[in-house]
């Protein structure tokens, strides 16, 4: 999703140190390396994807965010990115805690389970929703902890996590999420992008 990368790239200042957690094939890492002068590292659980990243010369280590984030010292990165991975963790709360420890700022993007298509699927079909951003069946999904933009907003508020900025992505449309339009954006956004600080 190019728009997501553009938003993330806008959040990040030049010459900063960035860690991409769950960096996959390294597409976002490459995008940021090309568009910003950044010192970027990646952490990825899949051997195949790590090999792809290393083949591209990217500094990626094979590891699991739930166990391997602890090796990074406090505030050792200016930005830590978690792109559409939070829902796949056994313990997302602990992961967020660790991200906020390692990074001065944290960027989290979540596929929004509050999107109207998702709501309608369940309401009318009575089946677990299968959409473009959530293409899995209930039995083979890696997504253990789905949430909505509103859920994640409340999650941060309850833990005293500062939300600097929240962006809504709906197709090609990028817009700001504010307190006043939160419920509406929670209905129309496919993706929520949060910029956080401890």
């Amino acid at each position: 999703m190019k728009e997501e990368f553009k938003v993330i790239s806008k959040f990040i200042e030049e010459k900063s140190r960035v860690l991409d957690v769950g960096c996959g094939d390294g597409i976002l890492m490459e995008f940021l390396s090309k568009n910003k002068v950044v010192d970027i590292r990646g952490l990825e659980i899949s051997k195949e994807k790590v090999k792809k990243c290393l083949s591209k010369g990217l500094a990626v280590i094979e590891g699991d965010a739930e166990n391997d984030l602890k090796q990074f010292p406090d505030l050792s990165f200016d930005y830590v990115i978690l792109s559409q991975t939070l829902q796949a963790f056994m313990n997302p709360e602990k992961v967020i805690e660790n991200l906020l420890r390692v990074g001065k700022k944290v960027i989290v993007t979540i596929p929004n389970f509050g999107h109207w298509k998702v709501r309608l699927d369940l309401l009318f079909k009575g089946e677990m929703p299968v959409t473009k951003n959530l293409p899995y069946q209930w039995y083979d999904t890696p997504n253990l902890h789905m949430c909505t933009i509103l859920d994640f907003y409340n999650f941060c508020k309850n833990r005293g996590i500062n939300i600097f900025k929240t962006i809504s992505l709906n197709g090609q449309t990028i817009s700001d999420i504010k307190r006043s339009n939160l419920k509406y954006k929670n209905l129309i956004s496919e993706l929520g992008i949060f910029l956080l600080e401890k």
Binding site: D39, R41, K47, V50, S55, G57, A59, I61, Q71
Partner: protein, 377 residues
């Protein structure tokens, strides 16, 4: 063996102070090179060999007439592409392929040094090989690389000379030799030293050779280089050229015959005293201790890009020990990549045809080389 004096070798005149306190100078370091050094002198890679390797990483070893030890990785179009890179590989000091070692002649007595050769360390090996940069007038290497003991040398090299290699590839190694590894090395040394032909290390003088001890040392070590699954799949309980058990102690099983063969060919190419000295150097290797228990300090201020590789079935230098190096590097924000390659070929994987491993290194080196040249980092 053909005459070792005819091999490429540089005489190191500078005094080298060894970790044991002794000093050596005017000693030979045998080396081999592959490919060509380019005009900018920015394409040189120094490869470090493992315990029983030598300078012949590629092509045909002129002394043994066998293929070089890293033939899968070094050569034209291979990961360490000799069409592109200038590869240097030296025989470690303590070795037996032309570098200064226990087989070298003591000018005072005109006899081989034997156990009068000083005990050397990985640090000593690396400091000796550093002289090759002067010899080839190379300001900075593109990369240093090696597996097993070669990987330990990579770590020590970057620690000693933080600004002399752009890329470091320590493969299947450790920053601190484990008790299990010391134990296996001790088993090998005891096998050699309890062979009556060892003669306190003076076997050359007495025209004997502790072949049996050295062969047993090799057999034991060879088992540690393979995985249980690999052995089971390759040999199982297959019998060696017989249809039934013979109720004796001949090699009934294929695995026995294989190990005996590995032992017997090894003694033709390797020196027993070198085996003692080099295994000792591995045992003494503890980079963490060298830096007061904090491995990160070994790499302080390094700008080198690290790529660390381990293998799933390597129980001799397991992933956990390789990962300790990754963790230490991450703690200081160093540039580090790491992957564990899936294979059932055990510790020996780095020497064998493991396509995933070879292709990842090839792509990594090529991309990194062009990235560095484009951005002039």
């Amino acid at each position: 063996m053909s005459n070792l004096n005819q091999l490429n070798s540089v005489l190191i005149k500078k005094t080298l102070k060894l970790d044991c306190g002794k000093e050596i100078s005017n000693f030979p370091l045998a080396y081999e090179t592959y490919g060509n050094l380019n005009e900018n002198k920015d394409n040189a890679i120094l490869i470090f060999h493992a315990l029983t390797g030598d300078q012949y990483a590629s092509g045909i070893n002129p002394v043994t007439n066998k293929e070089g030890w890293w033939n899968y990785a070094v050569g034209p179009g291979k990961p360490f592409d000799t069409d592109k890179f200038f590869i240097i590989c030296a025989n470690v000091i303590g070795g037996c392929m032309g570098s200064y070692g226990p087989g070298s002649i003591d000018p005072l007595t005109n006899k081989p040094l034997g156990t009068n050769f000083p005990v050397i360390t990985i640090n000593d090996m690396v400091n000796a090989q550093y002289n090759l940069l002067d010899h080839f007038k190379i300001e900075k290497l593109f990369a240093v690389a090696g597996g097993s003991m070669g990987g330990m040398q990579v770590l020590q090299f970057v620690s000693n000379f933080p600004n002399k290699a752009k890329v470091a590839l320590p493969i299947a190694c450790t920053a601190s030799h484990s008790a299990q590894n010391i134990a296996f090395n001790e088993l090998g040394r005891q096998a050699i030293m309890s062979d009556s032909n060892w003669k306190e290390g003076l076997y050359n003088e007495k025209s004997t050779n502790p072949d049996k001890g050295l062969a047993v040392a090799r057999m034991a070590a060879h088992i540690t280089y393979l995985s249980k699954q690999g052995l089971q799949e390759k040999f199982g309980r297959n019998l060696q050229e017989r249809s039934d058990l013979k109720f004796g102690f001949d090699a009934d099983f294929q695995i026995e015959s294989y190990l005996r063969y590995q032992g017997s060919v090894f003694v033709d190419r390797f020196d027993a005293n070198s085996y003692l000295y080099i295994t000792r150097a591995m045992d003494y290797f503890d980079l963490t201790k060298q830096f007061g228990g904090n491995l990160s300090k070994a790499f302080k201020n390094t700008k080198t890009k690290f790529f660390i590789i381990s293998f799933t079935s390597d129980w001799l230098y397991p992933t956990s020990e390789n990962k300790d190096i990754v963790i230490a590097l991450n703690a200081i924000g160093a540039d580090v990549g790491f992957v564990e390659i899936k294979t059932d070929k055990g510790h020996d994987s780095f020497l064998l045809d493991v396509p995933d491993f070879l292709s990842t290194i090839k792509n990594y080196l090529n991309t990194t080389y062009s990235n560095i040249n484009e951005r002039r980092i």
